[in-house]
């Protein structure tokens, strides 16, 4: 299924070439047969009148939606021409961004071969905070790389989740908890969806989860309810940290000659290699090193910070909107569950020191968090704080706790670093554009600190922007900051609408011309979409894609893997319908362009194309010897898993196996993967990691300290003057909390309310308004507000109101409710549409009554001292959608939303809209 990124397995039943029924595949590791509302509505995507039908060339001003239908030959010629020029002159002037891409390992590789550092997918405006915080702390993360132990958890603490990518697995998991009577606590300003069925709802004030979690940590420290053995064994709690303020190595780990971190051994009363088996590390108390320097164990620093009174529940209750007693009770419940209700599995296993353990100890407390935490400018540290809480309870990859999904965990800090320095004509990059910096020297900045990437990812603006910063792309490209780009090449990202902070601005910048030359500021825009979205209207060349029933896809371990804690898995999609339109799979198009541009890897010595098409690439491409897009059925006979020579019959093998491959780890490898010798060996054999060394969980993050040291004037690569204070403040090696940045920068009294959005379970972002069934569920959206708040403002159900932020106002219909934090308003995400888009009638409720909250979000923070700072997390560059503050006032006038940008004219070639839709696979009706 491709109706969202959960990637459930489906079987498509056809009747006379038309879809009779899309059935969840009962054997599939992701969904075990269930389908959500979106997946069940796949038929209506396939027969949607919004499907693009032919390549389009702009035939009018950009943004008006006037196009000329052209042949593929011409389209590919034009694209290859534009791209060829850029590559010959300066590859980085191509910005290739791929949105909700499920083939990112391929598109990223294409960018690398092209030679531009300016590649990213949607992660930057999505949940990079979760990914980065997790990977730098645990070597795995909430964001798709881990999951609660649904079978054994007795207590689930969930932060800020409405749907998540694991849409169905989470629902199935919650059902399991309910059946077992486990406790489920949801921390969320809004009580809908998952929160509605939670045993306890904590209606927290947006942006304050960090305070809440640190108060839990405070209470646990106070009560000395900690798993110190876990901390000593599996985390860097005992590692010694140099305490020499001002010194270039202050705050770094004390290391031996081989660079191995040291801890203080109680037995020998001396520092020694912290990884030594059986040593007795001290976790508190100052240590004097041979050279006389002072050092403190990580845990000492941590305990000092969080035992401080300012983290006491009583001190934060007010700001969180959660009573101190509740915070203390939750802390108590967590401890009781983790320690008094611990689980022991009679499952022997061997740790990385070769020690055999007869049983597996489980701390049945699981946590999960997503965009409620990550979509704030303090999300990175908040997520780190949650991981600390997990570690203090010894609840990482143990029975009943949060678990890594294989192929995770990965070594910490994660590698490799991002690539992009010294991009030059006609040359490919030495590595993938996106990566994980280990310190300042890995940043993508020029000597003077100017960013190398157009989105300023991996610059001092956002050093750990591991997923890029798609949300700054258009603004920077328009401003020519740090440089002009020539071709903007986008794939499945509705950047002119719901993924733009401030779509009005995005559209303006996309259509803005240089006063002098009359040329567009962003000279060329190539876009691939499958439907007539808002973005299509803002492109010069449109490459129409197929639907997911009409192409090959690989859900690859090299990308964002499916699979579970019990074993890795990957999957394919196979075409079941032949397109009835002149469209091509985007991946095939990229391969064709790669060949036309003679990109290394896309052409052989003889100059012929290396890959016939994407299916050919899926089977025969090798990223490293033996490692390709699909891990299953490798080797000439398809008997090898993970690593093995390409298997010409691999796709058949997948199809025979229900289009997926899943590997079942033996029970011995199910837990403690970060220190499980058997698992790590296996992972190495399968090519998931290069090292079998224990992955030590990082309470204290040294890479962050390295950036801080740079800000303090140490090392070769240092931030520009105006950035020093910012870097010093936000690069704290231990978690910190600060108010969401927008709030610090504005007059709070003027904007007393927090404004957030939620994923509607039956809609995927913007792309389901063209779906005849799903749109009936959400044709318009309301602004939800707490009833008492509304009454205090003199507002009533159904009133039309202005939602006013520092950057603009949008008109919406009000709905009062009980289950929402009193200082928070919210709405369903991406329901409002631009008139004329998605081949809806121009007077559709989506365009008239539905509204898009993005209109009042700004991609930049209020300009401080001229510097233009992205409205994002200062560590990772994650877009801070939910920092938004607003006030709400009654609106007069027509009962319609505003702003209402002029109606788009539907691109050429679209099928007409039916008035009566009688879909029945048995009787050919007027559904074409």
């Amino acid at each position: 299924c491709y109706m969202c990124a959960c990637r459930c397995g489906v079987r498509v039943h056809l009747k006379d070439g038309r879809i009779r029924y899309i059935e969840g595949n009962p054997d599939h590791p992701v969904n075990h047969g269930v389908l959500c509302a979106k997946g069940s509505a796949g038929i209506m995507n396939q027969y949607s009148p919004a499907r693009l039908t032919k390549p389009l060339l702009r035939a009018g001003p950009r943004g008006a939606g006037m196009f000329r239908e052209i042949e593929w030959e011409e389209a590919l010629g034009i694209a290859a021409g534009w791209l060829g020029e850029v590559r010959a002159r300066d590859p980085k002037r191509l910005a290739f961004f791929t949105g909700r891409d499920q083939s990112q390992s391929f598109t990223g590789w294409w960018a690398k071969q092209f030679g531009t550092p300016n590649f990213a997918a949607h992660g930057g405006f999505c949940s990079v905070n979760m990914a980065a915080a997790g990977l730098y702390t645990l070597g795995g993360s909430f964001w798709e790389f881990g999951e609660p132990d649904w079978e054994r958890t007795k207590y689930l603490l969930m932060f800020g989740v409405a749907e998540d990518h694991d849409s169905n697995p989470i629902k199935m998991g919650l059902a399991k908890l309910k059946q077992r009577g486990a406790k489920f606590v949801s921390v969320n300003p809004v009580k809908t969806g998952y929160s509605a069925i939670a045993d306890e709802w904590i209606g927290i004030r947006p942006g304050t989860d960090g305070l809440f979690v640190m108060a839990l940590i405070h209470a646990l420290l106070e009560a000395d309810r900690l798993d110190l053995d876990f901390l000593a064994r599996y985390t860097n709690a005992s590692w010694l940290v140099i305490q020499e303020p001002g010194a270039p190595d202050h705050g770094l780990f004390v290391r031996d000659a081989e660079g191995r971190p040291l801890a203080w051994d109680r037995a020998r009363d001396a520092p020694m290699d912290a990884s030594t088996a059986g040593m007795q590390p001290r976790i508190v108390g100052e240590a004097r090193l041979a050279d006389g320097r002072r050092a403190l164990p990580v845990f000492h620093l941590l305990a000092e910070r969080f035992m401080d009174g300012r983290h006491a529940p009583e001190a934060v209750a007010e700001r969180c909107g959660v009573p101190a007693a509740t915070i203390r009770r939750i802390a108590r419940e967590l401890a009781e569950t983790a320690f008094d209700q611990a689980i022991t599995l009679d499952q022997p296993w061997t740790d990385t020191h070769g020690r055999r353990h007869a049983t597996m100890l489980g701390r049945p407390v699981a946590m999960h968090a997503m965009r409620g935490v990550s979509a704030h400018s303090n999300g990175f540290h908040t997520c780190r704080a949650i991981h600390l809480l997990q570690m203090l309870l010894g609840a990482v990859d143990t029975p009943g706790s949060w678990r890594y999904k294989s192929p995770y965990p990965r070594p910490i800090p994660p590698g490799p670093p991002p690539c992009g320095k010294g991009a030059k004509q006609l040359a490919m990059l030495s590595g993938m554009a996106l990566g994980n910096p280990r310190g300042p020297e890995d940043l993508l900045v020029e000597k003077d600190g100017t960013p190398i990437r157009i989105d300023k990812a991996f610059s001092w603006d956002a050093p750990l922007a591991a997923h890029g910063m798609m949300h700054t792309l258009i603004a920077n490209a328009h401003a020519g900051d740090p440089y002009e780009i020539e071709v903007l090449f986008l794939y499945m990202a509705n950047m002119a609408w719901n993924s733009a902070m401030n779509p009005g601005e995005a559209a303006r910048m996309l259509t803005d011309r240089d006063a002098a030359t009359g040329e567009y500021r962003i000279p060329r825009v190539i876009y691939s979409d499958a439907f007539a979205s808002e973005m299509v209207a803002h492109a010069d060349l449109v490459l129409p894609d197929t639907t997911y029933f009409e192409r090959w896809d690989a859900i690859s371990l090299l990308d964002r893997p499916i699979g579970s804690a019990e074993g890795p898995a990957d999957a394919i999609r196979q075409p079941v319908l032949i397109p009835d339109r002149d469209v091509r799979p985007f991946q095939d198009v990229l391969i064709e362009l790669g060949a036309r541009l003679r990109l290394p890897g896309f052409v052989n010595e003889d100059g012929g194309a290396t890959y016939r098409d994407y299916a050919d690439y899926i089977v025969n491409h090798q990223r490293r010897p033996g490692i390709g897009p699909l891990a299953g059925f490798r080797g000439p006979a398809g008997e090898e898993a993970g690593v093995g020579a390409p298997n010409p019959r691999q796709l058949d093998a997948y199809i025979a196996n229900g289009c997926f491959w899943s590997y079942h780890l033996p029970p011995e490898q199910h837990y403690y993967k970060h220190a499980n010798a058997a698992y790590l060996d296996q992972a190495k054999r399968m090519g998931f990691t290069d090292s079998t060394a224990q992955i030590v969980l990082q309470l204290y993050s040294e890479p962050l300290q390295k950036f801080r040291l740079a800000a303090e004037g140490h090392g070769p690569v240092q931030p520009p003057e105006q950035m020093r204070a910012r870097i010093r403040r936000y690069f704290d090696p231990l978690p910190i909390w600060y108010p969401p940045m927008e709030q610090e920068a504005i007059e709070q009294a003027a904007y007393p309310l927090h404004a957030i959005t939620q994923r509607p379970p039956a809609m995927y972002h913007s792309w389901h308004s063209q779906n005849a069934w799903l749109r009936q569920i959400h044709s318009r959206n309301h602004l939800f507000m707490n009833r008492r708040t509304g009454m205090a403002l003199g507002l009533a159900d159904g009133d039309w109101v202005w939602v006013i932020s520092r950057s603009g106002r949008v008109k919406a219909r009000l709905k009062l409710m009980e289950g929402v934090n009193p200082d928070t308003v919210w709405t369903w995400n991406a329901i409002g549409k631009r008139a004329g888009a998605w081949s809806l009638a121009p007077d559709a409720p989506e365009a008239r009554q539905g509204f898009l909250l993005n209109h009042v979000i700004s991609e930049f923070l209020p300009g401080r001292d001229g510097a233009r700072q992205a409205n994002a997390d200062p560590v990772t560059g994650q877009a801070a959608w939910y920092d938004l503050r607003v006030r709400v006032e009654r609106a007069a006038g027509a009962e319609q939303t505003e702003p209402r940008p002029p109606a788009l004219r539907g691109p050429a070639g679209l099928r007409g809209r039916l008035r009566v839709l009688r879909y029945d696979a048995r009787t050919p009706s007027e559904v074409r």
Partner: protein, 315 residues
């Protein structure tokens, strides 16, 4: 409930027809009809024309009118089916009555017998119509003891009014009788209707959003979100509402146009008789039909259905 014009028209006009048939039979038995050679056939014609017009209109409310005949099959269980059967059955005595009138004379035993039979069947048809609504438990404005008597009285009222209008062209005596019967039925009907309005205004539904959802134990229940954001069949059909003020206005119209005015006209017309009567009494009959049309429209418009509880609409 949505006042489908076809149904409103049907119950009003057919009602008058059956009422008229009823009086023809009863008064013939009591030899209180004009004995003009053509009176019988003409009067029966008028009655059956009214009934037929209504029946035809009612098929327009069907999704599959061409299958209407199937509605006759379930007379053992369905009041709607019974109504259909009774309605068709009424044509036989009616036609027979007219024929006998011509052949064996107005007040011959056979004519009286057929007349009485027609009266019974006509009356039965109205009972069936009333019972269709009376039986719908989800609609409290229909599921009550007032519905049956009201339907009967108003059929008798409009029927008698039409009869007096027809008789006016023959003999004053019977005309006066018919007119006064109409007046009495009208007054009774008005009283009954008033009691009904009181009843529905005072009473409230046995069902609540709490009993509909079973969530009452958790506290007061409100709908947060409807299943679909735009209106659907259920709400268009079952969710029709009119403002209290508007309803009040229409009730006054019903009273004046449907009862007060006609009763006066009936009195005057019957008193003066002759040409004046021949003008005023038909006018009175038209008044009655128009007034009852509004009354019947209200009967639907003010009816609330339990399904609306699921949509957070209190009764």
């Amino acid at each position: 409930m949505k006042p489908a014009l076809s149904v409103v028209f049907f119950t009003t006009v057919s009602g008058a027809g059956w009422g008229m048939l009823f009086w023809l039979g009863v008064l013939d038995a009591a030899s209180f009809l004009p004995d003009g050679r053509w009176f019988g056939p003409v009067a029966v014609g008028v009655a059956m024309a009214l009934a037929s017009a209504g029946l035809l209109a009612s098929t327009r409310h069907l999704g599959r009118p061409e299958r209407a005949w199937r509605a006759l099959s379930q007379w053992r269980s369905s009041w709607l089916s019974r109504e259909g059967v009774a309605a068709l059955a009424a044509y036989l005595p009616a036609i027979g009555f007219a024929a006998a009138w011509l052949q064996v004379g107005p007040f011959a035993p056979l004519t009286r017998a057929l007349g009485l039979l027609g009266a019974v069947v006509g009356c039965a048809t109205v009972v069936c119509t009333a019972m269709i609504y009376r039986c719908l438990t989800p609609v409290r404005q229909w599921h009550n003891g007032f519905v049956l008597p009201t339907y009967l009285l108003l059929a008798a009222y409009s029927g008698a009014a039409c009869l007096s209008a027809s008789a006016a062209f023959w003999q004053p005596g019977p005309t006066r009788l018919a007119a006064s019967l109409a007046a009495f039925a009208g007054i009774a009907g008005a009283a009954c209707k008033r009691a009904y309005w009181r009843f529905i205004d005072r009473g409230h539904a046995a069902s609540t959003i709490e009993s509909a959802t079973g969530l009452g134990t958790l506290g007061a229940v409100r709908m947060l979100e409807a299943p679909h954001t735009e209106e659907n069949y259920l709400m268009r059909e079952m969710g029709f509402r009119i403002a209290r003020k508007h309803a009040g206005k229409l009730r006054r119209v019903t009273f004046l146009l449907g009862f007060a005015a006609p009763v006066m006209l009936l009195a005057i017309g019957a008193a003066l008789g002759g040409i004046v009567g021949q003008v005023i009494l038909p006018l009175a009959a038209l008044c009655v039909l128009a007034g009852l049309y509004v009354e019947r429209w209200l009967f639907f418009a003010q009816a609330t259905h339990t399904v609306t509880l699921y949509y957070g609409r209190p009764d």
